[in-house]
């Protein structure tokens, strides 16, 4: 059992050649495997072959990006964050592989209007409809088709990474596209006199 390495020692050993690097890689691999396996086990989603595959990819990525480690956390925390990101990215790709952006938009655009239920008063139902009508007008006036498509996908739970993949873009660009869309709609709702409190009250 070795004493835990300090950050600088991890970097030095992983940049070394031969047995020094091999030993550091073995230690890091073991730590990433245990951490990832236990977090997935806690979620009831442990697939050992998947975990080993992801950790192998992570080790390659970490070795290629050692110069990006800035030392603001423990090295092993940084390495685990990279591993988790790769794992969830792979799971999202599998989970959403057969879902198109168009189907996400259609699910909202083609849905029938909702009827008032017993828990909603006629006045509250009318208020909800007025708000949604305002929102629909703002969407038509202020958003591009691309923004609306991304927004409906996000609303349906599609990860930004998957939206980006379908748009031939990247997560940052999609986040900015959506942020701009939300800002436009927020400005329009504020101009129409609606506040967050109004919405909470109408949809309580």
């Amino acid at each position: 059992m070795h004493a835990p390495r300090e950050n600088a020692i991890w970097i030095r050993d992983l940049r070394a050649c031969g047995p020094v690097q091999a030993e550091a890689l073995t230690d890091l691999r073991g730590l990433l495997l245990r951490g990832l396996a236990k977090s997935f086990q806690a979620r009831g989603a442990l697939d050992q072959a998947f975990v080993e595959d992801v950790v192998q990819q992570a080790l390659v990525h970490i070795l290629d990006h050692l110069d990006q480690f800035q030392g603001r956390s423990r090295f092993t925390t940084w390495a685990m964050a990279i591993t988790v990101r790769l794992a969830l990215s792979a799971l999202r790709r599998t989970r959403w592989q057969d879902v198109s952006l168009e189907s996400m938009s259609a699910a909202i655009e083609d849905a029938p209007a909702w009827d008032r239920d017993d828990t909603t008063s006629p006045a509250q139902h009318a208020e909800q409809h007025a708000m949604v009508e305002t929102l629909r007008r703002l969407i038509d006036e202020a958003l591009t088709d691309k923004q609306w498509m991304a927004l409906t996908a996000e609303l349906g739970g599609m990860p930004l990474e998957e939206i980006a993949r379908r748009m031939g873009s990247n997560v940052n660009a999609v986040y900015k596209l959506l942020h701009d869309a939300r800002q436009r709609l927020k400005h329009g709702l504020e101009m129409a006199g609606y506040t967050a409190e109004d919405v909470r009250s109408a949809f309580a």
Binding site: T77, M80, V84
Partner: protein
């Protein structure tokens, strides 16, 4: 467009919770290792790290990554403590 009430509510909340300046997912992930360590040790959040907290409240993907990372680190810490 015929949003169900829960979809309409979610969309309104997304829109009305928008800030002029928001951290992107890549910016959040660049800070996430430091953020999770601060959270696990119970230290107060600096302004820079506070932005990560705000992003996690808005972004389901990054929030999910934070949760898994935290679980992994907690499991390893428990293992070290044994």
């Amino acid at each position: 467009m015929a949003l169900r009430p829960e979809q309409a509510k979610a969309l309104f909340e997304m829109v009305l919770g928008t800030r002029d300046q928001e951290m992107t997912c890549d910016e959040c992930m660049a800070e996430i290792a430091e953020f999770v360590e601060v959270q696990l040790t119970g230290k107060p959040l600096s302004d820079a790290i506070q932005a990560v907290h705000e992003h996690l409240e808005r972004c389901h993907d990054c929030s999910d990554e934070y949760d898994v990372l935290r679980q992994a680190l907690e499991a390893l810490a428990e293992e070290e403590g044994r």
